[in-house]
Subunit: 404 residues, 4 copies
Amino acid sequence: MNSATLELVNAPTNSKSVNRGYLEGQLREAGIHAEDPRIASLNKYLESMEPGEPITMDAIENGAAESRALLGKAISNRLVVPRFGAFRSMIEELFHKSKKAEGGAVASYIPQLKRVNPNLFGVSICTIDGQQLSLGDSNAEFCMQSACKAALYCSVLELLGQGLVHRHMGWEPSGRSFNELALNQRNQPHNPMINAGAIMSCALLMPESPMSERFDHLLKMLAGFSGNRRPGFNNSVYLSERETADRNHALAYYMKEVGAFPEGTDLHATLDLYFSACSIETTTRQMAMHAATLANAGVCPLTGSRVIKENTAKNCLSMMYSCGMYDYSGEFAFRVGLPAKSGVSGVVMAVVPNLMGIAVYSPRIDAMGNSVRGVEFLKSLVDTYNMHNYDSLTRTHKIDPRQH
Amino acid sequence: MNSATLELVNAPTNSKSVNRGYLEGQLREAGIHAEDPRIASLNKYLESMEPGEPITMDAIENGAAESRALLGKAISNRLVVPRFGAFRSMIEELFHKSKKAEGGAVASYIPQLKRVNPNLFGVSICTIDGQQLSLGDSNAEFCMQSACKAALYCSVLELLGQGLVHRHMGWEPSGRSFNELALNQRNQPHNPMINAGAIMSCALLMPESPMSERFDHLLKMLAGFSGNRRPGFNNSVYLSERETADRNHALAYYMKEVGAFPEGTDLHATLDLYFSACSIETTTRQMAMHAATLANAGVCPLTGSRVIKENTAKNCLSMMYSCGMYDYSGEFAFRVGLPAKSGVSGVVMAVVPNLMGIAVYSPRIDAMGNSVRGVEFLKSLVDTYNMHNYDSLTRTHKIDPRQH
Amino acid sequence: MNSATLELVNAPTNSKSVNRGYLEGQLREAGIHAEDPRIASLNKYLESMEPGEPITMDAIENGAAESRALLGKAISNRLVVPRFGAFRSMIEELFHKSKKAEGGAVASYIPQLKRVNPNLFGVSICTIDGQQLSLGDSNAEFCMQSACKAALYCSVLELLGQGLVHRHMGWEPSGRSFNELALNQRNQPHNPMINAGAIMSCALLMPESPMSERFDHLLKMLAGFSGNRRPGFNNSVYLSERETADRNHALAYYMKEVGAFPEGTDLHATLDLYFSACSIETTTRQMAMHAATLANAGVCPLTGSRVIKENTAKNCLSMMYSCGMYDYSGEFAFRVGLPAKSGVSGVVMAVVPNLMGIAVYSPRIDAMGNSVRGVEFLKSLVDTYNMHNYDSLTRTHKIDPRQH
Amino acid sequence: MNSATLELVNAPTNSKSVNRGYLEGQLREAGIHAEDPRIASLNKYLESMEPGEPITMDAIENGAAESRALLGKAISNRLVVPRFGAFRSMIEELFHKSKKAEGGAVASYIPQLKRVNPNLFGVSICTIDGQQLSLGDSNAEFCMQSACKAALYCSVLELLGQGLVHRHMGWEPSGRSFNELALNQRNQPHNPMINAGAIMSCALLMPESPMSERFDHLLKMLAGFSGNRRPGFNNSVYLSERETADRNHALAYYMKEVGAFPEGTDLHATLDLYFSACSIETTTRQMAMHAATLANAGVCPLTGSRVIKENTAKNCLSMMYSCGMYDYSGEFAFRVGLPAKSGVSGVVMAVVPNLMGIAVYSPRIDAMGNSVRGVEFLKSLVDTYNMHNYDSLTRTHKIDPRQH
């Protein structure tokens, strides 16, 4: 074993081989999940070994070349959050602290949301190096609701470009409720993160194609964001949404009337696509990857594939920063200072650019529609770590998770 | 001359002394202005020299100790914009390009503004290391108008703390015109950067003290921002503003009526202070220092004195980012991505956190009240340099002015 | 022939019989139309006569008893407008004067309206004694459009009573455009004469019955208003209305969302009924009878049948008075002082309580949606006759058409 | 004594003279108040008589000629409400019934209003023939508040004519609260009966004259309305109003800002006049005469003097009908159907054109600002008498007070 490999495995003894348990322990400690596609070849190799057989570096070089680089970084603490174990401990502490926030109430405008267990609470984090961390009900499935608006906006930016998209929507918070029956002074939705804007995104998303392809296009993007894991769909929620969507119908007809939509827009197909998007099912684990892909400028950390252009990610974060938390967006930008998007199902996805994505799920929402524990958790996070947009300005006592 | 001093002066020849002209040239090249207070002792020393007398390092160490560190950094290109000459050339290019923007019209609601020469155009930049650069009419004096709102907000944050201040104003863009007769759902001004919010800042600024002291307090802060240079006052504008301020009176009475002000607020004194603040006179040179102090987390780069707390600077930038450009704030945050504040006199002050402050003055404003050339110049600036809030995300071709 | 019959026929000579031509001339002069159902038996009798055969009173008493009373009143000038010939001459004068008003433009939001000949101009009047008068294009067919709102409101008042109906709509002008996306502070349509209110009337009109019966119910009422003449239907307009009715859809969904409708309302059926009602075709002749029935407290002057209750007529007139002329209602009530209802097809129906109904049709409408010539004609009418709601107050030079 | 005089006094016996007590009893019974100026000469004559001296017609003809006509009408039941005794009994009944309405609360925005005894209740009626009737606290003094708006509007109509006045205000209810910070689409106050409109009336009322004369002009008109009895002034209320008038200041500045006022309007003088007008003190007795003068087309029934033109009265009634009862105007017009104006002091003045004026005072007001008992009393009044604007239409069981 030469010095390079020595460095690589950072093994406790100067032996030519390392123990399998030790290797796996190091990976877990660094936040590399057992099912991370980047260590698939390593896993395969390890499984092919006889019990007790020592792991040689040569074997890794030969048999699991794809995993080699990640393994090296993980073991030598060169991932973006180098001291991931300490980070995890702190996050656990914040998780338990935030759990105490019991205010708010489950959204009740459709029975499917109302029935949800109000005590669910899950937190997942994924760094731009694919380090993952999940606490609580991180596998509980919930509908994206408004959290789908980020992906909808990304889709149309990719398809049409910013110039064309923003002929049909603005950049500004509305200063009003998220579903207010109002457009901006140019008769456009105020921004892509409110209902009117997301309905517009749906109108712009491949209007010439069959519904199935339009929806599929969105699903593919969401899968790309989340390490190629295809999200589910809650048809009961979809049907309920469609039945009770008077405000959205009112909005859409109003937009149509003032000529907000492109020529030839099919209103019903547009709304159908919107309700479908809201009914896509996901988990905090997947949403954290979604957020991490945005933090990583459009490349999914787990697959290394570019899902959206850098500029698309940048523009989406701009909009999430100023308009992503409904009526609370202004105060959230001020206090938390992170691009985020929430949904009435109780999800909040937040992005720390160039560092990580975070997803919280807890169904009790406040009067503005944001998850009470979600907001609480993110507040305590930026109180602890220097993640606020303007924290670079202040030389505080806050921890920098990037530091060794 | 030892290696340390060699490094210091980076002299062309290995002599024990350097030429005075060479030294001054190096300082100018690095952006250190002849009147920079930090080189006052050096200037004094240099002036005390006989013609032709060589400059020795020892003499500098003895006679101009305060200037020593700056001199070292400047000569060895260790200031925050190391290649300041190249930077200056590029800015000159952008200046000339932006000069071509001839749209907009001079504000005309009071005769004093209307009479201004519409062709004036000045740009000043000041880095957090006090490197300065001024082009065009950078000494033309103009009234701060709405650009005073940042300092007003800082004053009350310093005096009362964020909690108390935000009992009386919100954090959110209003989604409407800057002087709209509307408050947010809690009957507060939407944010400190619109008229209603700045009037509220005035109400909160030492309400128990005599008017003269309240105004003086603001002037002192502005002087502190600008290297201790006290700004002027345009009394004609003040009188005109007061006479034509129907909308602001309407706003203030409305705010009073719904109980927005603290108990005991004197409406007339409050408005007087507001009109006074708007009538303070300044130059782009001074406004660039103001912006640089914000970029430098509250410490004036030219004096090294802390003017406001780090947190105050951070909060002010948060508000400028989302609400500083009137109705255009949303689009400006999206496209330019810098905290900024404009005034109808034609000034725009922008902040690149941890890097520099920028001030542009050109009296022709667009329909939203922002200087046409000001916006144009800032757009071309972020197209050239990676200064947008989310440029860190994108690995673009943009220039990083921090790089050697 | 005794003195009573003498008086009856008011014959020029003291003969026992009168000439047929003379009799018919007297009836026409008094405003009794040849097709008035009340003289059907007389017409029959007259047609059964030999040429030249003299008319005896006995024969009339026997053969045309139903027509006897009207004949008496007409010949002895005891109808409500006794000097109908003079009245007709004056109306002709006003008609020609108003014809000069050439402002406005034909409604163009659907092609079917746009195509109409803009020069059409018809005026019809019908008194509470069934005296009729028609000028110009009084047989031109046009769609009722908003003029159907009066009958819709009457229908639901009859079916449900005022208490129930006004649980779902207000009594107040909206102070805004007729199709404004706004409800009053109780989340109701402001009144039954604007779109939102008429849509609500449709929702309340026999919601349990099949569409065909609901529409039929309305048609029957309209026929009742107009001497049992069933109105037509313009299916092209209906289809166009339905296709372009974005604002009305927006309104309806908004109303649904805030719970304005009764439980179980079928939105699509409601809107269908509304568009159907707007597409009913009529003439000024028929609309004048409609208005006359309202002026006559609910009894159609031509058939003597009660169509609606007195109170229903009263309530409908209250609403027409304050809200019937779109945005112009306030000024119209002030200047003209008559209950009226207009439609964008160019119809205006006005009511002089206890005196007469008036209908004007001219397709060029002003910016507020009222027929330019219609408003002009009614203004000149009240300038000439003491018909303004508060004319009773002023002892003016105006003519009283009731006077002998 | 000839038959004419016999008829005149309608004496029980065919004697040449009548008893004084009988005569006075007849006058009181007919509603002629002892202090009615029209019987001043009669009173004088009667007082000059010896006790027991019989009254001869000749003496009346000679000594009290001015009172002769009224006396004749009164005694022979030819006044507009001929059976005044029966009318009075019925009104007493309605008064006691309405007294039971105990809802509402005394206005509390200024201490002077708050301190008023909430149980006060007065009703006064005055017919167009000057027949008077007063019940309860009809001499209690209260401030006119918004009830001054009718007289303000009349003043400017008289001074400037309808055309000029309505260049600065509209004719339409606002569809919003009475003090809403909103103007109509032409940037005018919606109508003269809301705050903005009354402030405009003040601006238009002799702007060139000294304040004292402007106020005096209004006082004189009010005195003219009320039988030449000069109303009082409550200076405490005036001072309080002025101090707490934030909303009105806001309104006025807003109106100034959008150019609603005529060139050169002095805002402070305008508001001062408005607050002064609101602070004028009156009684129901006087307000009933005010209303009666309007009912009598501008001629005060008690003095026979014309105070305003017929057209002014007509226009004022038009505005009171549609806009006089704040937010309740629409429903009030529908249900009660009388022109009326209320004030937050608890007064409501209502007009039955060509018949009578009514004033009710009871300080407890409802959420819309109208006296609870005032509205209650007027509702029960029109349920009993055929006074609703459209009651002429319905041949109901309601009593006609004009009938013998």
